[in-house]
Symmetry: C2
Subunit: 492 residues, 2 copies
């Protein structure tokens, strides 16, 4: 291969390799959340990575830019009439296609969960990748608010099961119908103005009421001197919108406040009645205001949602790689989207769902020190002391595996020291050394690598520990499994 | 949406949706095989779906057509210099890229397992898709034959764990070095002739020795009248090749036979010594000739492999949808590929691995009636008898879920009969009916839907069964969970 130009080994921009620590955390979330979905009667579904571009449609849930952000390619023009295909950007659009395709034969309502990677052809940034994992549950074919409530309850249970400490996450609920009712009562008619109002409300967190008031009116000049044109509402209409967002986050009390602001608009009243039904169902499912609240400032997506909208916010304190505090914010969201299936069938089909941003949630838990990293362990390494004894070393490793202990024989060519270093880098709990003496005596020497790492961290009382954990011990072969199990779980 | 042209809801050609039955079977395989890989000390790794096209290279393991069969697209020319990216076609090429990229910091040998979808831009056919799931384990950085043996042992254990009955699968092992030694002893020098010989040997299963003899010589005329040009070996050389393939499939005895045919060629002897070491290691791992044999007729891929090659063959009798018998053949394979990492680094890096064709294995087990379909169960359905009692029905479902029973409240708008039909289509074990009488009496009526399905199949002795399983019973609310558990597991 001397004169061949060699490619550089690198991942494409915005894509990453993930190793044990990331994967253990992510799989833990997927397993826990899937189990909840199944317990609620949702069946698994996996759609392909590709959809035909026309079937995928132009909806990106968090963007109002049509037809942007997907990875698309043209199928073979000779055999497939050159149709454009695109990688799914979420799990909802493929579900809408699946539901439309199979509507006649599906049990209805159709309840499915799904997880897997989705792809967005966007500019990557820190913590922002072009491939990430979502885990969704959706009910298609039920217009009942109880269907929304159930989706919210599963999200709340999912956060706990994923390892989020109690009180460290909140589900925020709003309704597109309330927002529409608000528009009606504030005299907002055309779609452009409506969009501008929603955009302004969406900035409440960042700009506060004063900033939002400006954006609802003529416009706002930011610190850099850039001017953002406002929605052009009258002062009275803007106050009405602000009063709406200031109803505060709660359950029954919030609904009462909101009724004062938007009561009377037909769509607003419909939204209020649905939220009241969601409140009742959540309560009977044991989901209280500490886990899920109505929050009128939640907007979520600008097209797409038609009723209730949900957002899961993480309240964990976390720090980034540089030790700076990070606010993770949203780790999932969803809502009611009654128009997606109609794209195919022409018939409005009620649907509601929630999507966990699994990659994001895993990253947040890791940054907050709440991930499952301690579950990442290497295997016991059987050291190759005597090359002629490979078969014996293999038998020892087999014995450990049969006892449920991950184990391997070192298969490189290096000497003892490098082998011990290898075992340490694998985060092995122990190395097993069997040389001529041990073979003759029917014994094995076990080196406690966990102890070495504990001592290196300086977290243990050396003297007391050393008495109980000698670091290295030669034991009878019949004691080998028990000795290693004691290292893995040293509690008396 | 009246005047909008609606897209047709369909999957792209060669791609499929997979529902519970497929997924339960596939996940069972992935979980079982991953557990084995971890027990052998392999760590999980997930590389992205995309690689830069130059990093992915031209190797397709089972094809000798360079640069074909991948889904490729060009990245944004403005921000990413328009580099071509392609979806991975297997999990080995991305591993080679990863190993090259991180070689300095990896523990060596580097042992990783991976699973996930791979994509091939090929013509789809029956049972042949453009997206399918593989599950691989590889050791990079060990030239030891014991590393190969371990990979083979894991494959053998994996087949059992995946649910393949004892004796219904066999691992076939050969060595590219033996084949090269054979070429040397048969006087084959140039690469074109070598390729023709390998292709001829690869057809032994299909054409038998007579057909292969023709392909080794001048060529073969098939039934349709088409002529395939042969490798052009002399009659003596062709005999030698045939004698090699006829050494038969076994362990020690086969090695002895092969030594008679190709002993003396340096590369052949090296191959024989490696296979002997693999034999010894397999034996010490408890893998006998019923699970893994040397089979000189195994070729596997034409470029790519540099030493031992493995193939997992399923011997199950299976029938297709039309009831025709199907031979599933290969459900996985692998081997030693010492050149893949060198594409990047210029340094030969020994590597060996095995890949389960998980989708294929799942399909084969299903066709043979050995899949986990019986694990696919619907939830208990709580029937909505009285719309005003939704909160109570939700509480009942919550009670069942708390007891570990998947359960849901029916959330559609239909009446009793449609609700029962829904529950039956979901494969629910039971429906729970609570009307006015039951609410008043603190009871619940449980309908045994499993019984209904059993009776419909005619598999049970109606009279005896009916006495014990009444089909429908009204029980105290405190007995609800126990009553349903009894339906799920009716054994006394």
């Amino acid at each position: 291969m001397s004169d061949i130009q060699r490619p550089e080994a690198r991942t494409p921009r915005g894509f990453i390799d993930r190793r044990a620590r990331d994967l253990v955390a992510e799989r833990k979330i997927l397993t826990a959340v899937s189990a909840i979905y199944e317990r609620y009667g949702f069946e698994p579904l996996e759609t392909p990575a590709f959809e035909y571009a026309d079937a995928l449609g132009k909806f990106l849930p968090d963007a109002d830019r049509p037809n942007e952000g997907v990875f698309a390619l043209q199928d073979d023009p000779d055999t497939d009439s050159g149709q454009w295909m695109a990688l799914r950007y979420d799990l909802t659009a493929p579900l809408a296609r699946f539901a439309a395709q199979n509507w006649e034969t599906l049990p209805k309502p159709f309840r499915r969960y799904a997880y897997g990677p989705v792809w967005r052809n966007e500019k990557p940034g820190p913590g922002r990748f072009r491939e990430f994992v979502q885990c969704d549950a959706d009910t298609v074919g039920s217009a009942r608010p109880e269907a929304d409530a159930e989706i919210i309850a599963m999200a709340a249970e999912g956060l706990v099961a994923a390892g989020v400490p109690a009180g460290a996450a909140i589900l925020k609920i709003n309704s597109r119908k309330l927002l529409n009712g608000l528009m009606a009562s504030a005299g907002v008619a055309d779609d452009g103005q409506k969009l501008a109002v929603l955009r302004a409300v969406d900035k409440l967190d960042r700009l506060g009421p004063e900033g939002v008031r400006l954006l609802l009116g003529e416009g706002r000049l930011d610190e850099s001197g850039a001017f953002t044109k406002g929605a052009g509402l009258s002062a009275a209409a803007a106050e009405r919108v602000l009063a709406f967002t200031e109803a505060g986050a709660g359950r029954g009390d919030t609904l009462g406040q909101l009724a004062n602001v938007i009561g009377g608009s037909a769509e607003g009243d419909e939204g209020l009645a649905e939220l009241a039904a969601i409140d009742a169902a959540l309560t009977s499912l044991g989901v209280g205001a500490a886990q899920a609240v109505f929050d009128p400032s939640v907007v979520r997506g600008l097209e797409y949602y038609t009723g209730a909208v949900f957002e899961a916010e993480l309240l964990l304190d976390a720090t980034d790689e540089k030790g700076q505090p990070v606010r993770f914010g949203s780790v999932g969201g969803g809502g009611r989207y009654d128009d997606l299936v109609a794209r195919f069938t022409g018939e409005r089909t009620p649907a509601t769902g929630f999507s966990f941003g699994v990659s994001r949630l895993a990253a947040a838990l890791r940054a907050a020190g709440k991930d499952a990293a301690s579950d990442v362990r290497g295997p016991v390494v059987v050291i190759v002391f005597d090359q002629a004894r490979m078969a014996d070393y293999f038998a020892v490793a087999g014995e450990l595996r049969a006892a449920g202990l991950p184990a391997e024989v070192y298969l490189g060519q290096s000497g003892m020291k490098a082998q011990m270093k290898y075992a340490d880098r694998r985060l092995s709990p122990a190395a097993v050394i069997i040389g001529e003496d041990e073979f003759a005596a029917g014994t094995a020497t076990v080196k406690d690598l966990d102890l070495g790492r504990e001592l290196a961290k300086g977290v243990t009382d050396n003297a007391a520990w050393r008495a109980e954990r000698p670091g290295q011990a030669t034991v009878a072969r019949s004691e080998l499994v028990a000795t290693i199990k004691k290292i893995l779980d040293p509690r008396p």
